[in-house]
């Protein structure tokens, strides 16, 4: 399939799939709590409603940052699905997150500030592991290009088990799920009001939601890369990982940010870096 076709499928399909996944997330969470839960299409109803609400702002400029956040998240996914350089994808992802944080800082409300600061801490926590994932994939496939990694003939997860587990840890942070829902929580924790999204409303909040849909699809696409030589297994594994993330979300309480950062770095060093050390030593042993 040509990269352009993949790109178009991603641009159109990702928000639809991401929205449905967000609906499943809420439904599965509800079932885990022995509730009925909202309809699967609930995230779409929410976004449609938000688009019709009044857009209350502290400063008008805060909304431009969120617009760029959305654009850059879409750009990140587009680079990934078009088969571009994995390192470039990582940097685009970081830039997108930075715009989200800047938007929250711009709104100058104490809750939004704490949310923004915690989002930065979360980025600090996951960033080393994300880079190690890219490096690990390079060591096995000798390429940073997503399309070459995807067409590699070995099952990456067998060579990179530590990095895969570390990436699961990172996903929990990236999806802002418990125990890492520090900057903004989906649930009824209200001590930060809504953390980083507190000052965004109406259409801007809808943009944040849509950005999350794109992000979900992109991150699950990355999970798929670990299983890319067996496509069916890859799709099933991505969905299982998604369910696993929801399970963890429902089982754990929130961690303190210090513990979150230390935990994430410990995982990055032990599982991520350890995996890479083993990979580089293996040829010497043979």
């Amino acid at each position: 399939m040509s990269p352009w076709i993949r790109l178009v499928i991603y641009l159109v399909g990702a928000p639809l799939l991401g929205g449905v996944l967000a609906g499943w997330d809420r439904r599965i969470s509800a079932r885990m709590q022995s509730r009925r839960g909202p309809p699967i299409l609930q995230p779409f109803y929410d976004v449609m409603k938000l688009c019709q609400k009044e857009n209350v702002v502290v400063r008008r400029s805060q909304n431009y940052y969120i617009f760029f956040f959305l654009v850059l998240v879409i750009f990140t996914g587009a680079l990934f699905f078009a088969g571009s350089d994995l390192l470039l994808v990582v940097f685009a992802l970081t830039l997108a997150a930075i715009f989200f944080v800047l938007g929250a800082y711009k709104a100058s409300s104490p809750y939004s500030f704490i949310g923004a600061e915690r989002e930065l801490i979360q980025m600090m926590a996951y960033e080393p592991m994300v880079l190690l994932v890219a490096i690990g994939m390079y060591m096995v496939t000798k390429s940073f290009y997503v399309h070459e990694i995807a067409s590699h003939n070995t099952l990456l997860v067998l060579a990179l088990p530590g990095i895969f587990l570390g990436f699961l840890y990172t996903l929990e942070i990236k999806f802002r799920k418990s125990p890492f829902d520090l900057s903004s929580s989906h649930h009824a924790h209200q001590e930060l009001v809504r953390g980083i999204t507190t000052e965004f409303s109406g259409r801007t909040l809808a943009m944040i939601e849509i950005a999350h849909w794109y992000e979900t699809v992109f991150l699950l696409g990355w999970v798929y890369l670990f299983f890319a030589s067996l496509p069916v297994v890859g799709v099933v594994a991505s969905l299982l990982v998604f369910v696993f993330v929801i399970l963890v979300d429902n089982v754990f309480a929130r961690l303190k940010w210090q513990t979150a950062v230390r935990g994430a770095w410990a995982v990055a060093v032990v599982l991520g870096f350890g995996n890479i050390v083993v990979l580089s030593l293996l040829p010497l042993l043979r």
Partner: protein, 302 residues
């Protein structure tokens, strides 16, 4: 049903009293009732909410909080008063620090009876609120689309209740600025405003869209000066030139005067800016209430 009634996000505030209704409201989220199946999210952020659920009677401390939260909800919004205390003050109504039900502070759309209100009744109240939310949204969309067709007419006595309701909605933001209850526009009664209509020298102008009054201003002429006051525009339609047109229309309504006079609070930057743009200049200040200093502005007719 549009997306509005499928995705009602709620903010809940307990104003005072025994917490019975407070607990019953949260009981709606439990697996037994699970309001999330209706798309309800219980959010702590007024800026994300559509429905403001208030329990308990209003006291001196909670009054400002209620007004503040109400003000932060984006339009369209509805208010549900849950329980006897929120409706009327309930058994606390006679207490020295209780000002009554929620409607003594903000406009209420749905009252849920009960002491404590049962979760079923609260859910029913929220469902009824959805209908009102839907209606408000339609009205606003229709009105926002025809703002350029707004009519600027003389109001008569039959318009008094609608103008008063509009005035109280529009002046919420002023109450917010001064942080106390002393803004006179928020205290005017229907009798007072009707009496004003009976005075022959008074002129009331209203801005009408689709049969609804979304803006008004009034004034009277004495000794060659037209005194203009109480310019109000519905919060949802502000910054779209309606206040500007109202001022022009009321000035036209006094063809024989040489001078126009208005006043506003010293901290109402937006009003001051608007008036200066129209050529009004400050000429005196006067202590109005403990919190408000009135700034008087005037303009000579050229």
């Amino acid at each position: 049903m549009s997306s509005f009634s499928k995705s009602p996000w709620i903010i809940h505030y307990d104003a005072s009293s025994c917490n019975g209704c407070d607990i019953e409201t949260l009981a709606c989220l439990t697996p037994l009732f699970d309001v999330e199946r209706l798309g309800v999210i219980n959010t702590g952020n007024p800026k994300h909410a559509d429905i403001f659920v208030v329990t308990g009677a209003v006291n001196e401390q909670s009054r400002d909080v209620i007004r503040n939260i109400y003000h932060q909800l984006g339009e369209p919004k509805v208010v549900v008063a849950v329980g006897a205390c929120a409706a009327s003050g309930g058994i606390f109504a006679e207490c020295y620090n209780i000002s009554g039900g929620v409607d003594s502070v903000i406009p209420v759309d749905v009252y849920v009876p009960g002491c404590a209100a049962r979760p079923e009744a609260i859910i029913d109240g929220v469902v009824q609120a959805l209908g009102i939310l839907e209606r408000k949204k339609k009205e606003m969309a229709a009105m926002a689309n025809s703002l350029d067709k707004a009519l600027y007419l003389r109001a008569d006595k039959s318009d008094a209740p609608e103008i008063l309701a509009l005035q109280k909605t529009a002046y919420q933001s002023e109450g917010e600025i001064y942080g106390d209850d002393s803004v006179p526009a928020l205290h005017q009664t229907l009798e007072e405003i009707q009496k004003d209509f009976d005075r022959p020298e008074r002129v009331f102008i209203k801005a009408v869209v689709n049969g609804k009054i979304i803006g008004s201003v009034r004034g009277y002429a004495a000794e060659g000066t037209a005194n203009i006051s109480r310019a109000s525009v519905h919060p949802y339609f502000q910054h779209r030139g309606i206040g500007h047109r109202l001022l022009q229309e009321i000035e036209k309504a006094f063809p024989n005067v040489k001078r126009f006079e208005v006043f506003t609070g010293q901290k109402s930057e937006r009003n001051l800016k608007h008036l200066r743009k129209h050529g009004y200049k400050e000429f005196k200040t006067e202590q109005g209430t403990p919190a408000i200093t009135w700034v008087y502005l005037q303009k000579e007719r050229k």
